[in-house]
C-alpha cells in the first residue's frame, strides 16, 4: 500500500507534462525502465535544445528543422505531447521558412521543457 500511494503522488505531479498511462503502456509498465528513461531524458534534452538554439541563431533553417525533428521524436517517445507538438511546430515553421514563428514557439518550448524537467527531477527524486 505504501508503494502504491507513493506512485500515485509521483504520477500526479508528472502527469501535467507527460501522458503517463500512454508511456507506461508503451514500456509495458516497466517502472525501472521509466526511471532510467527519465534520467536519460534529463541528460539528452539540454544537448538537443542547445543544437536547436545554435541552428536558429545561425539562421540555418535546414538544421533548425532537423534539430526540431530530433527533439520532437524524443518528446513524443516520452509521451510529452505538448512539448512534442511545439517541436513539431518549429520543424514545420523551419520548412516553411517562417523565422518569426520559430522564435515565438521556441520560447514557449524552452519554458515547457524547463517546467517538465523540474517535474521529471521531482519524479526521479521520488
Amino acid at each position: 500500500m505504501i508503494e502504491a500511494s507513493k506512485f500515485v503522488s509521483r504520477d500526479a505531479l508528472i502527469e501535467r507534462f507527460v501522458d503517463l498511462p500512454d508511456l507506461l503502456a508503451r514500456i509495458e509498465n516497466d517502472r525501472e525502465l521509466l526511471t532510467e528513461l527519465f534520467a536519460m531524458f534529463q541528460e539528452e534534452v539540454p544537448v538537443l535544445q542547445a543544437a536547436l538554439h545554435e541552428a536558429t541563431n545561425t539562421g540555418d533553417l535546414a538544421q533548425t528543422a532537423a534539430a526540431a525533428h530530433t527533439l520532437k521524436g524524443m518528446l513524443a517517445n516520452m509521451s510529452m505531447k505538448k512539448g512534442a507538438s511545439m517541436a513539431a511546430s518549429i520543424e514545420a515553421a523551419a520548412r516553411s521558412e517562417n523565422e518569426t514563428a520559430i522564435k515565438l514557439t521556441l520560447a514557449a518550448l524552452d519554458s515547457e521543457i524547463a517546467d517538465l524537467s523540474s517535474a521529471v527531477d521531482a519524479f526521479v527524486a521520488g
Binding site: R26, E28, L33, L37, M40, A66, H69, G73, A76, N77
Partner: protein
C-alpha cells in the same frame, strides 16, 4: 533471433532495446547509419533491422540502399522507423529498399506484430534456400553413393584441365572399374551390389585429398580428378587407390566380399589433348588395357604394354 536497431536518439534507442529484449530478441544497438551498415553487411550480421529514418550522415533510406547494394545474398528484413507519415515519404522509404515502416512513437504490440511478419518472410526464404540447396545437391550427386555424378565430375575435369593448362600444372584422371561386379549382383542381389558400391565410394574418398574430386562415372565405374600432382607419379597414385579398394574384404549383409578394381590413369602434362572427351577416351583405353592384362591392376595411358 538477432536484430539490429539504429537510432541517434538514445531515449528512443533504449526503449526499443528493452522492448525487443523482453520479446526475446538478441539486440545490437547502434547510434548511426554507418555503424548499422557495417553490422548488417558483415557475413554473420543480423537479418532483421529497425532503422530510424533521420540519422546524421547515413539516414534510414540510405542504409537500406547500401545494405541492398552490398549484401546481395540472404535477405535482410529492414523496417524504417519514422514520424514521417505522408504517402510520398512512405513510398520513398519503401523504394529505398525498406520492407516495412513503423510510425514513431511505436506501439510495442504493433512493433512485435510487424517483426513477426519479417520473421515469417525470413523463415520462408530459409526454406526456399534449403530447398534450392537440396535440389542442387541432388542434381550434382549420385543418390546411391553420394559421390559427384557423371555430369558434375566430367565438368570438373574439364575445368581442371583448362586451369592446369593455363598454369602449366598437371591434372591426373583415374578411371576405375570394379572387377566382375555383375557377378556380385547376379549372385548376391542388387542390394548387396549397392552395399559394395557405397563402401567403395567411401574407400575412394578416404584415399584422396580433400581438394581432389571423386565421382560415379557409370554403374560400377568411378572417375577421380587429382589436382596439382606430379605427372611422373600418376601410376603410383593409381596403384595406391587400387590398394585402398582391395586392401580388405567389404562387409555386406551377405558376409564379407573381396573386391578388386582395374584402373586406367592419365596425366595431362605433356599431352596435346584438346578436349575433355579426348582425355576421357585415352584414360578409358588405359582402363581397357588394365582389364585385358588380367584385371586388378593399373595402366597409364600411353604406357599400355
Amino acid at each position: 533471433m538477432r536484430i539490429l536497431i539504429a537510432d541517434d536518439e538514445p531515449v528512443s534507442l533504449r526503449m526499443l532495446e528493452k522492448t525487443l529484449e523482453r520479446a526475446g530478441y538478441e539486440v545490437t544497438a547502434v547510434r548511426d547509419g554507418r555503424a548499422a551498415i557495417k553490422e548488417l553487411c558483415s557475413p554473420e550480421g543480423p537479418r532483421l533491422a529497425l532503422l530510424d529514418w533521420m540519422m546524421p550522415e547515413f539516414d534510414g533510406p540510405a542504409v537500406c540502399r547500401e545494405v541492398r547494394r552490398q549484401r546481395g545474398g540472404r535477405h535482410v528484413h529492414l523496417v524504417l522507423l519514422t514520424s514521417k507519415n505522408s504517402k510520398q515519404e512512405v513510398v520513398s522509404g519503401l523504394e529505398s529498399g525498406a520492407d516495412d515502416y513503423l510510425i514513431k512513437p511505436f506501439d510495442p504490440d504493433e512493433l512485435k506484430a510487424r517483426l513477426h511478419t519479417g520473421l515469417r518472410i525470413l523463415q520462408l526464404e530459409d526454406n526456399l534456400v534449403e530447398a534450392r540447396e537440396e535440389m542442387l545437391y541432388k542434381a550434382t550427386h549420385d543418390s546411391l553413393t553420394s559421390l559427384l555424378n557423371r555430369g558434375t565430375i566430367v565438368e570438373l575435369l574439364a575445368r581442371e584441365l583448362t586451369r592446369t593448362r593455363r598454369e602449366s600444372g598437371c591434372t591426373i584422371a583415374v578411371l576405375g572399374d570394379l572387377d566382375h561386379f555383375k557377378l556380385v549382383n547376379d549372385t548376391f542381389g542388387h542390394m548387396v551390389g549397392d552395399e559394395v558400391l557405397r563402401e567403395v565410394a567411401k574407400r575412394l574418398l578416404s584415399s584422396v585429398r580433400s581438394y581432389d574430386f571423386v565421382g560415379r562415372y557409370g554403374g560400377e565405374e568411378f572417375l577421380l580428378v587429382i589436382n596439382n600432382c606430379d605427372a611422373m607419379k600418376a601410376l603410383e597414385r593409381a596403384e595406391e587407390i587400387r590398394t585402398a579398394i582391395c586392401r580388405a574384404p567389404i562387409d555386406t549383409s551377405r558376409g564379407p566380399l573381396a573386391v578388386t578394381v582395374s584402373i586406367g590413369v592419365i596425366a595431362s602434362r605433356g599431352r596435346a589433348l584438346e578436349t575433355v572427351e579426348e582425355f576421357l577416351c585415352e584414360v578409358d583405353r588405359a582402363l581397357y588395357a588394365a582389364k585385358s592384362a588380367g584385371r586388378n591392376c593399373c595402366r597409364e595411358a600411353g604406357f599400355e604394354i
